[in-house]
């Protein structure tokens, strides 16, 4: 069937590009490497689109196909195949990953132009796209875990891309270690599943999940949730995301906004049958999402690095997606994932244009007045910001509000608490987003901008402007895929895979939309009051927010210090005396033995003759005795 063939092509094209770039080495030109990577991801998108169209031709109830290439791992009674799953959810994710990925990789051709190691960058980017596709297309949990780990690896490689910078290396390590914690809980959940059900194929697991005890189900879902929380940078495993901004801006756009960090949401939706059997864990997911939503919004208010503001914003919006998935509004969560990919990538890429034009400066306190100097960038950034805040008719409006409505549709106290938190988050979103817009683009050009900005270079090369424009278009128009009260293309598409647990009524939807738009506008107004109209001075930032709610300090004290002390102790007590000492002892012993033996070489003929005579005497005794 076509959709399966094209799905395989979609999966392996980026891998082929990575291998080609890696093997060609310096024989491949830098531009050529970039074009190869972009072309591969773009062809992947075309293949995904063909899969999508082909699936449309099928009956909605028969849109799930598993295709196994060969048997990957056989151990006793366990059997895992190298299989991919082509169903509405995976095709949806494939389109997002390859589509937005192609735009961002194309943008990187301009952004990374002139870097010494461009080829390595494009190889890594293509590898990341392959890993993410493996994650979403994996036909069983083992391949999902494999893709999970590989995206973690790609993230590490790309965050630490400029490896001469110690801060980048530290950030990469931090990201990897925190994700490893999530990977561990994920793996433990899988071990439990293997022990209890003996299989890791989706369908088999879901059918046998009904027979498992509540405790096992809770543990499995908790393990899966742990992995999702780490990968999606939700509280409490969120501290790696702001540091990950050390990587190049396109990396932040692709990995830490559009795709990798949304893998947690994908996991919850994909494993929704398991989560639905442990409602408490699902509620925990929703609660974590809601708290992250508010906390990240608060912290974003005091950030001074343009990329960090957008990073905390990402954290906050993924909180919305977690909230949606946790409440059971899977389609809404995924729709928000789609629109978020558009406008967040747009914001990052536009920020990249700003950073590029200001020769690498990222501190917003030094910026100002870029509105007139970079009008196209300003327009795109504004589109993204309006979409983020959720102002109609931009896409964020259509995707965010159904989640808020779902909280009210739940009806119980928990639902109302989520409702209030989501609305507060909308207000905060408006505030920090437009604080950023007014600081960077509003007012008069600052001294720094006047010195650094060079009007001759324009806003950037065409290869960077075109993807930004495309994303701006998508951010504007993408929301119209699903209009509450009108049509619901996304929900219908995803219904066979993830039927929603709650459905809001039209009036609840309307009320939620009105309230969240009002909250967003209120936030924008506050930002305008302080930063644009300058009617009131900016308040002093709270130290708790400046220290990002002291999470870093907490983890440092609880995890890092003991580990470092233990390592130092082991070095002093074990490594030195035992390991080094044993080798030292061995070599010293050999040396001493050699010194002893050396004393036999006196150089005196008489000693040697004495040795001869003595041995002769001994041998004579032997011969006499033996006779």
């Amino acid at each position: 069937m076509t959709e399966i063939t094209t799905a395989w092509i979609c999966l392996f094209l980026p891998l082929a590009a990575t291998v080609a770039i890696a093997l060609a080495g310096n024989a491949l030109g830098r531009r050529a490497a970039g074009l190869l990577a972009t072309g591969a991801v773009a062809c992947s998108f075309v293949a995904a689109a063909v899969s999508f169209v082909s699936l449309l031709g099928h009956n909605p109830s028969s849109r799930s196909h598993v295709s196994t290439a060969w048997s990957w791992l056989t151990a006793g009674s366990l059997h895992f195949g190298l299989s991919i799953l082509v169903d509405p959810l995976s095709v949806f994710m494939m389109l997002v990953v390859s589509g937005v990925g192609a735009l961002i990789v194309g943008y990187s051709i301009g952004y990374m132009h002139g870097d010494d190691e461009e080829r390595r960058y494009f190889a890594y980017m293509a590898f990341f796209v392959f890993s993410m596709l493996l994650l979403v297309q994996g036909g069983n949990l083992v391949l999902l875990l494999a893709g999970w780990g590989l995206v973690g690896l790609s993230s590490y490689l790309l965050i630490g891309f400029w490896h001469e910078r110690p801060s980048a290396v530290a950030a990469a390590k931090k990201a990897f270690v925190m994700n490893a914690f999530g990977d561990a809980t994920f793996a433990l959940a899988l071990f439990l599943l293997i022990a209890k059900t003996g299989t890791l194929d989706y369908q088999a697991v879901f059918t046998s999940a009904g027979g498992l005890s509540t405790a096992v189900l809770a543990l499995v879902s908790l393990g899966l949730l742990g992995g999702a929380v780490a990968k999606s940078a939700q509280l409490p495993l969120h501290t790696w995301l702001p540091d990950a901004m050390e990587g190049p801006t396109p990396v932040s756009a692709l990995i830490h906004a559009a795709t990798m960090v949304t893998a947690g949401v994908y996991l919850i939706v994909r494993m929704s049958p398991i989560f639905e059997l442990s409602p408490h864990v699902q509620d925990t997911a929703a609660a974590l999402g809601a708290f992250t939503l508010v906390a990240a919004g608060l912290i974003a208010l005091v950030q001074t690095d343009i990329k960090r503001v957008i990073a905390y914003s990402t954290m906050s919006q993924i909180g919305y997606m977690f909230l949606g998935a946790g409440l059971g509004a899977y389609a809404s969560g995924l729709f928000h994932l789609l629109t978020h990919a558009f406008f967040k990538a747009l914001l990052f890429l536009a920020a990249g244009l700003v950073i590029h034009a200001l020769a690498g400066e990222q501190d917003i306190r030094k910026m100002g007045g870029l509105r007139r100097l970079m009008p196209k960038t300003y327009a795109c950034f504004l589109v993204g910001s309006l979409s983020l805040v959720g102002i109609p008719p931009f896409s964020g409006f259509f995707s965010k509000d159904p989640i808020v409505a779902a909280a009210s549709a739940r009806g119980d106290a928990f639902g109302w608490m989520m409702y209030v938190l989501a609305l507060a988050g909308a207000g905060l979103t408006g505030a920090y987003t437009f604080r950023l817009v007014f600081r960077v683009f509003g007012g008069e050009p600052s001294g720094f901008v006047r010195e650094t900005f060079d009007a001759r270079h324009g806003e950037g090369p065409l290869v960077m402007l075109v993807p930004v424009a495309a994303l701006a278009l998508l951010a504007t128009a993408g929301g119209w895929l699903q209009v509450p009260g009108g049509w619901s293309a996304v929900s219908d598409w995803l219904r066979p895979v993830a039927a929603p647990l709650v459905e809001a009524t039209t009036s609840q939807e309307a009320l939620a939309s009105a309230l969240s738009v009002a909250a967003g506008v209120a936030g924008v107004a506050v930002a305008w009051w302080i930063y644009s109209a300058r009617r009131a001075p900016a308040p002093e930032p709270w130290p708790e927010l400046e220290h990002k709610l002291y999470f870093d300090e907490l983890y440092d004290a609880v995890f890092y210090r003991p580990a470092a002390t233990a390592a130092r102790l082991l070095l002093a007590l074990v490594e030195g005396p035992l390991v080094g000492g044993s080798i030292e002892g061995l070599s010293g012993g050999v040396r001493r033995l050699a010194a002893l033996t050396r004393r036999l070489q006196t150089g005196l003929v008489r000693t040697y003759a004495l040795a001869l005579a003595a041995s002769l005497a001994v041998l004579a005794v032997v011969f006499i005795a033996v006779r």
Binding site: Q601, T602, G603, R606
Partner: protein, 102 residues
Amino acid sequence: MRGPDVVWYLGVAAVMFSTGALGVLLRRSPLIVLLSLELMLNAANLALIAFSRGHGGGAGQIFALSVMAVAASEVVVGLGLIVAMARRKLALDVDKLTSLRG
């Protein structure tokens, strides 16, 4: 056979041999060492001749003649070495010749 048995000759040979061995081990002058070495070789010769008489075959005497020839060659080389040492003004003392010391 008239006179003492072969055993007695072997006894004399043994005493001569150990005397020569002591000379090799205890003396410092290389000339004396060579002379002691000759003593040991002659003791061996005596033993060979005694055995040859004991068994009645001439092989022992042939062997003894060959030993004599070899001893002569060895003395030539040894004395050549000693003369070379003296020419280079090295001390003729085996305890001082330790350049092969490890």
